[in-house]
């Protein structure tokens, strides 16, 4: 078991950069290379299976990074497929937005309709088209695979790795973990910052003592770990994860006492018992465990705990603009007492999120001055070192 005050490091620790040329990383030239060599080659999570429960269920996912919109659908054969959300007639966006369930989806422009398996189902006044081959005009597919309820796509013509290879050792470690929860909140906003700064803001705990001193003053660390060292950090080939330390001396504030009295402990408290969770959660079985942070390179950060999990997407729009989407799932409430605890925790966590989100635009603006070339990274920020190493590896086509 890992000691709370000393970090146990595991994995690919060589060649991790303690200084990173951030001016280069934020440049439009670098961004263009990242789109081609990272975002067009990586496996990217885009949707939850939970949003596609039936035949005909669909979800629209805009992906500005590769300038497309996806239509993810579940067909009669039960298979979930992603297609480019573009009508094969004259290129209109087929489904504007959102989610729903229909036997076919119909373009609002000229009424062309497509089946959930992508086939062109109906063309009004079809006889007016000469030499028309309906079979050749189905929706343009995108390689799609599902892992533990997360739908992934890959924009490469021929993906270089299977999803199992891409995910590596985590592939078999999370059986059932993401089942059985309900989505409680979903926030989305556009930010004037580069996607690297977004991901970086959520993949270290060093900031928590300072940035969150007003919102969650004693939620991590405690007397035996005052500097809140992560008990465990693991660097895999592309992804990384670490565990955050619960504060065993956390004192519940007055309303918090009642928030969790008739339900389960949630942020700013933690139920640290991971004994019934699959091996990928609290992988080192650290004492005083709060939650894990996993970066699925390049742009998806998961926070996994007992009773809740959070998924955060960072969709680059350009070198200085990113869309961020945060979805929080909690255990399904069965009583008012449980629902009230969820409400208390949801808002506390939202306020922490707002503090995290508030650093990125200010940092971007300051770095755009060009006066400072390098950022310096500590051992507790190893995830950032690893993030930039993996970025460089993919840019060099390693």
């Amino acid at each position: 078991m890992a000691n709370a005050a000393q970090t146990v490091f595991r994995g690919a620790m060589d060649d991790l950069p303690t200084r990173v040329d951030i001016v280069d990383k934020l440049s439009p030239e670098n961004y263009a290379r990242e789109v081609e060599r990272i975002f067009r080659r990586a496996w990217l999570p885009v949707a939850h299976l939970a949003e596609l429960p039936r035949e005909g269920s669909y979800v629209v996912v805009d992906v500005p990074t590769v300038r497309t919109s996806l239509l993810v659908m579940r067909a009669r054969d039960g298979v979930v497929r992603a297609f480019h959300n573009i009508c094969r007639h004259r290129g209109n966006k087929l489904v504007r937005a959102g989610t729903g369930c229909r036997p076919t989806v119909t373009c609002g422009f000229h009424g062309w309709s497509f089946a959930p398996d992508g086939r062109l189902a109906g063309v009004p006044d079809q006889a007016q088209f000469k030499d028309f081959d309906k079979n050749a005009l189905g929706l343009i597919p995108v390689t799609t695979e599902v892992w533990e309820g997360l739908v992934f796509v890959n924009f490469d013509r021929e993906p270089r790795w299977s999803l199992a290879e891409w995910l590596g050792p985590m592939y078999d470690q999370f059986a059932g973990y993401w089942d059985d929860k309900e989505k409680l909140t979903s926030y989305q906003a556009e930010f004037h910052c580069n996607w690297h700064l977004g991901v970086n803001a959520f993949t270290e705990g060093y900031h928590t003592l300072f940035l969150h001193k007003n919102t969650v003053p004693d939620y991590q660390g405690g007397r035996s770990n005052p500097l809140r060292h992560r008990p465990y950090m693991e660097m895999m080939q592309r992804h990384h994860r670490y565990s955050a330390p619960r504060n065993p001396d956390h004192k519940a504030t007055p309303a918090e006492v009642f928030a969790f009295k008739y339900g389960r402990k949630l942020v700013p408290a933690y139920d640290g018992d991971s004994s019934k969770l699959p091996p990928g959660v609290n992988p080192a079985r650290a004492d005083n465990w709060a939650f894990d942070v996993i970066e699925l390179f390049p742009n998806f950060v998961m926070l996994n705990s007992n009773n809740w999990h959070l998924g955060i997407w960072f969709w680059p729009v350009d070198a200085g603009q990113t869309v961020i989407r945060a979805d929080r799932y909690l255990y399904k409430a069965k009583t008012a007492g449980e629902r009230l605890g969820q409400a208390y925790s949801k808002v506390r966590a939202r306020e922490v999120l707002r503090e995290d989100l508030n650093t990125m635009e200010a940092t971007q603006a300051a770095l755009m001055s060009g006066v400072m070339r390098d950022i310096v990274l500590s051992q507790q920020e190893l995830a950032l070192q690893h993030h930039f190493k993996v970025t460089d590896d993919m840019l060099r086509d390693v």
């Binding site: 996912v61 805009d62 556009e190 008012a336 939202r350």
Partner: protein
Amino acid sequence: MTARMLPPQFSELQPFVADWALPDERARYEKLAASDIPTLRVFYDAMMKRIDEIIVFLDTFPLDAMPPDAATLFDLALTFMETAHPIDLNWSITDIEDKFPAERFNFLPPSAPAGGARQTS
């Protein structure tokens, strides 16, 4: 418009219903941001006196099938839980400065799909 009524045993909280029995996160956040600490404290103190009994009472009903007066009490209690933190944490203002402005958030309903970048409808 008929006023939403609370169960009779919580009648001293009836004056708070119009302003504080709010239906969703966005409405509760906006109420919090528009209130000052003294106003919030009046609501907080009144609710803290009864919150234990309130939860015990509400737990006797199925979550999806509460009678109207219990549902009103539930909205009041949910708003309490979503606005208690400034008093719990001894803040001097109800929304700490230097945080990302929540007005720029798109508070999507829980049924909104995962992942997608620009949901313009």
